[in-house]
Point group: C2
Chain length 256, copies 2
């Protein structure tokens, strides 16, 4: 199978990652500054005029969820395959006039200006035609990712898990930072602990096997002392209570 | 200053880490199996008879919080410095008959059978005598850690932060694993995302700068779709709601 010519539509974080990793013939985006930036990363041209959208085998629409419908309706992909890259949206969120539609959702967190290794990253793919799935598998391989066929429900379920282990984990890092700052302590003191916590879990068969702390050992006096300290931060206290309860409940159920 | 002869008391995870990293002249522990194991790691002898406790300059009591009082009361440290290694306990939790008392709390998570790099790890130290603080600073350096003088209140505050960024983060990994298993999905799909989430935060000036996800962008339709999916797991739904609320609140306050 011939590798498709690829146009990236959008200039956000996912678009940037795709431009860093894939051979791209055109970056199509409204924002000139980011458009130029991404085109430079990909070594191609930036375009914002819909009439000058390059003919391509694959259009990767890395735009915000709410823009998928409008952007896909406004562009003429000809006979090309057009896919969105969202974990939350349906294939049908692409405009119905698009001839070949699909989804290409890399299960990773992306940032501006940061190169991310996509080796081993699952890419959840969906398409209306079998041949298009093969194209998407091919492109996932070029990213060194693992293509997995997935419908919208499965994608959304995986997205829920991602919210817990990525977005909420970062929320806890923020909670830790706030607490340290409240107490005039340097957040960076926690960084070796944070690094080891995640590395250890990744090396273990299950996070259950490496759960430690006052909740895991049912250490009530320490939990009470912590609650007293958190009195002035009811938002952090609520998180403390709920996560402690969750870990203890799991222990009672013999899951840890 | 002469480096002190060190005896490790206890055979848990912290004791193991100390035996891996420090020159230890004796491992004193009740459990023969673990005692032998740790003594082998340290290249010294195991002992369990209080009358045969080796004379030493420093006794590192790496025992459970509730055992600190009893164990320290039952042993004759002579003129040696005896310190516990707990983030939750006071110096006064060591028996009053101990001549030189202190605390040596490494801010790290330890596991059986896993070697942990202690380079850069803060070690919160406390002692009744200035000269003993210097001894503990010396030992922290031998671990390549960063000694920080700290009283019980500060130690406990740092411990609270550690619970958020270590124990609760691992609790979220467990929540993610449970959710994946409920849906017959392989937890390991999330591992590249988990690794990148933490690496990215560690490389950024603040976790606020790298917060992503539906809550951070105020994406209500996705949040509602996730809540509907979580209906059958009220425990996970509670965590979802509270962490989402925390992230949104922080955004409203302009903190992210």
């Amino acid at each position: 199978m011939r590798f498709p010519d690829i146009v990236v539509v959008g200039s956000g974080r996912v678009a940037e990652a795709l431009c860093r990793e894939l051979p791209v013939v055109q970056v199509f985006a409204r924002n000139p500054e980011r458009g130029h930036e991404l085109a430079a990363l990909a070594g191609c041209r930036w375009e914002s005029d819909p009439r000058k959208l390059a003919p391509a085998g694959l259009y990767l629409l890395a735009v915000s969820d709410r823009a998928i419908g409008e952007v896909s309706a406004s562009l003429d992909f000809g006979g090309g395959l057009a896919v969105h890259t969202s974990g939350s949206c349906d294939l049908n969120d692409l405009a119905p006039n698009v001839a070949r539609r699909g989804v290409f959702y890399p299960l990773q967190t992306f940032s501006e200006g940061r190169s991310v290794d996509l080796g081993g990253v699952p890419v959840l793919i969906e398409a209306e035609h079998e041949a298009d799935l093969a194209v998407l598998e091919h492109v996932a391989s070029a990213l060194r990712g693992r293509a997995l066929r997935s419908d919208a429900l499965l994608r959304r379920k995986v997205h829920v898990a991602a919210v817990f282990v990525c977005n909420f984990v970062n929320g806890l890092y923020t909670a830790g930072e706030e607490w340290m700052r409240d107490n005039e302590l340097d957040f960076s003191l926690l960084k070796p602990l944070i690094a080891e916590t995640t590395q250890k879990m990744l090396a273990s068969p299950s996070p259950r096997h490496v759960q430690t702390g006052p909740a895991a050992r049912g250490d009530r006096p320490t939990i009470e002392a912590h609650r007293a300290l958190l009195e002035n931060r009811p938002d952090l206290l609520r998180i403390y209570n709920l996560m402690t309860e969750y870990i203890i409940e799991n222990q009672i159920n013999g899951k840890f």
